[in-house]
């Protein structure tokens, strides 16, 4: 079972996050960068699958040079090796471009049985990359998994969305995206941390992976961010004193907001 896990470095959700003024892309320098929490769960699920069925786990990351820290975290948790797609020309790549680039890199890897990703990143939150990647590879996509099981050459997930829970099964190879509920990721042990230093990380440029520079980056993006503004600060709440008419006042408030 050879599993590729997509890992992304994101600004820590605990730190203040900003967009840069010039091109409305994420100001990655301003916040602490960490391995996305949802990716930790993706890595954990890959490791569980490997522990049960054998094989190898490869962490695949597209991102700037300092994303090596997120890769290190995945390797410390137990992934066997990593591939890092890093190129100046990738700056500003949108979801479609990301999926195209990742599909190319997956094409350079040998016999991949399954790709596991987080359902959406905590920074971009488009939630589209796993599905697009599956489409580009021509593989089945099993998204929003809250549980995953493998049986021979089939993968079955419980897919949980607002609409409910469904069971979805597909033949491998397949792309699976996982939700927050899938597992509790392990913390890297010291042995894992030490071992990570010796694990192979291959760094690829666009040219190495055979990616057309015109399809990625800000210029290749199909979507364009024209303006951005920080979320307005929270307004102070309104206090209603119940003078026998509390219920009516609440209904008034809700209907004023078109909520009832």
């Amino acid at each position: 079972m050879n599993i590729v896990v997509l890992v992304k470095q994101v600004p820590d959700t605990w730190s203040e996050r900003k967009l840069s003024d010039s091109d409305h892309t994420l100001d990655r320098a301003s916040a602490d960068a960490v391995l996305d929490e949802i990716n930790e769960r993706a890595v954990e699920e890959a490791l569980l699958a490997k522990e049960a069925h054998g094989g190898e786990v490869t962490a695949l990351c597209m991102g700037p040079e300092r994303a090596t820290e997120a890769i290190r975290k995945a390797l410390s948790m137990g992934a066997d090796k990593a591939v890092h797609l890093s190129d100046e020309a990738l700056h500003g790549t949108d979801a479609v471009g990301t999926a195209k680039a990742l599909a190319k890199v997956v094409g350079t890897l040998e016999s991949v049985d399954m790709i596991i990703a987080g359902n959406e990143s905590t920074d971009g939150r488009s939630g589209a990359v796993p599905a697009m990647l599956a489409e580009l590879l021509g593989w089945p996509q099993l998204t929003y998994a809250r549980s995953l099981s493998l049986d021979g050459s089939t993968v079955t997930i419980e897919r949980e969305t607002d609409a409910g829970v469904t069971s979805v099964r597909a033949e491998l190879p397949a792309v699976v995206s996982v939700t927050e509920k899938i597992n509790e990721p392990r913390y890297p042990s010291f042995k894992g941390i030490m071992a990570a230093k010796k694990k192979p990380v291959s760094t690829l440029t666009l040219a190495d992976a055979g990616i057309d520079a015109g399809e990625v980056g800000l210029s290749g993006a199909l979507t364009q961010m024209v303006s951005s503004a920080p979320a307005p600060p929270k307004e102070a709440g309104q206090q209603v004193t119940d003078e026998g008419d509390g219920g009516t006042r609440i209904v008034e408030f809700l209907s004023g907001k078109n909520l009832v």
Binding site: R72, R186, Y187, M194, A196
Partner: protein
């Protein structure tokens, strides 16, 4: 060149333990503390991260790290909570290390995999109801009868000695008389549950309330002769070495508490207002925080120095005593100041600084009181022993 920055692996470990402490320990520890309950799920989590095997070689199921790795983990845990930190500290520096350092091959193979993986906890019984500082005056006895040691006596304040996962307690006991007439002291491994060993109900403590501490009674408690740890008559030297090492670990724990006080205050002074401004805008508060940071920082350098000398195989007795003293002072002073900064909330058990205040005092007592540390430093200065 002097370089007291952590190397890359230790720094990664620090981050990993920090994230465990803030995400897993911080949200739940207050309740365990309040209920005076041992936090089994947290201890299992620490075990899964390999923390109990940090300084143990991989061949015995350890992580193949060093003693500094243990210290770094302790500091980060204690930054959030001292009960879980001391469970690890006593588990490793008092539980694992004597067997790792002094045990023969058979003893190491029998006990270390379980201890280093954190499946079982080890305890170390040195202190007795009659005295701890003068540990050479042990009154517990062990007599070799046939192929068994028969142990009689009692031990006081023994950490990790009564949990469901306690696997063994190593105890010091008088095993005979030396040629010079003094007591011959040896260390003996007593598996948990051995008949004749009675674990008293847990103490009601001022602090460290989510850690496990009991008095132990030995009444014709019999263990096989092969449970003698290392050589007969080496008990005194063994516990001195164990305690010297342990001092560096407990120093790291104290630094964690001292730093935790700074963390909590930094957050609070930016939230709390009085007289129309944040309390953190008052210089009187700022200077308190500056002093707190100063104490945590200098105490950290002191334990880094002691650990560095230990790892180089150089003498470090004086540095270990200095580190323990500096760090327990820093912890006490910072806990007092942090509680002050928090005002009335600081006196509430639900705020971490309230816990820190209660947990700090024991650091001036356990593993050698502050007076004992000063005695050790004075000895190292060449002053006469009385």
């Amino acid at each position: 060149m002097v370089d007291y920055r952590l190397n890359d692996e230790h720094e990664q470990l620090r981050l990993s333990v920090r994230s465990f402490a803030t995400k897993e320990v911080a949200p739940v520890i207050g309740d365990y503390y309040e209920r005076e309950e041992f936090p089994y799920p947290l201890v299992s989590g620490m075990a899964r991260m390999g923390l109990f095997g940090l300084p143990v070689a991989e061949e015995y199921g350890g992580m193949g790290g060093d003693y500094l790795a243990l210290c770094v983990a302790l500091e980060e845990l204690a930054r959030v909570d001292s009960s879980v930190a001391v469970t690890l500290e006593a588990g490793v520096s008092l539980g694992v290390m004597p067997i790792y350092r002094f045990g023969d091959q058979r003893q190491r193979e029998r006990w270390l995999p379980g201890l280093a993986s954190g499946e079982m906890l080890g305890a170390f019984g040195l202190t007795e109801p009659g005295g701890g500082s003068d540990a050479g005056a042990t009154r517990t006895t062990a007599e070799l009868r046939g192929s068994e040691w028969v142990i009689n006596g009692s031990k006081a304040f023994i950490t990790n000695s009564g949990t469901d996962m306690t696997g063994l307690i190593t105890v010091t006991a008088v095993t005979g008389t030396k040629p010079d007439g003094g007591n011959e002291i040896s260390t003996i491994i007593v598996p948990a549950g051995t008949p004749g060993l009675t674990v008293a109900p847990k103490y009601s403590k001022v602090g460290w309330n989510a850690s496990d501490t009991h008095e132990l009674a030995f009444d014709d408690c019999r263990v096989p002769a092969e449970n003698l740890l290392g050589e007969r008559g080496r008990g005194y030297a063994q516990f001195l070495a164990t305690l010297t090492e342990g001092r560096v670990a407990i120093a790291a724990l104290g630094v964690g508490l001292a730093q935790g006080c700074v963390d909590e205050c930094l957050r609070y002074v930016d939230e709390r207002s009085a007289f129309g401004r944040k309390i953190g805008e008052n210089q009187a508060i700022q200077f308190k925080l500056a002093d707190m940071e100063l104490r945590a920082h200098t105490a950290r350098l002191a334990y880094y120095d002691a650990a560095d000398r230990m790892l180089r195989g150089e003498p470090y007795q004086k540095q270990a005593a200095i580190a323990k003293l500096a760090s327990s002072d820093a912890a006490m002073d910072n806990a007092r100041d942090a509680t002050q900064v928090f005002g009335g909330y600081g006196f509430m058990n639900e705020t971490p600084v309230g816990r820190f205040y209660r947990d700090a005092k024991i650091l001036e007592i356990g593993e050698g009181t502050s007076e004992v540390q000063r005695m050790l430093i004075a000895r190292e200065l060449g002053l006469p022993a009385r």
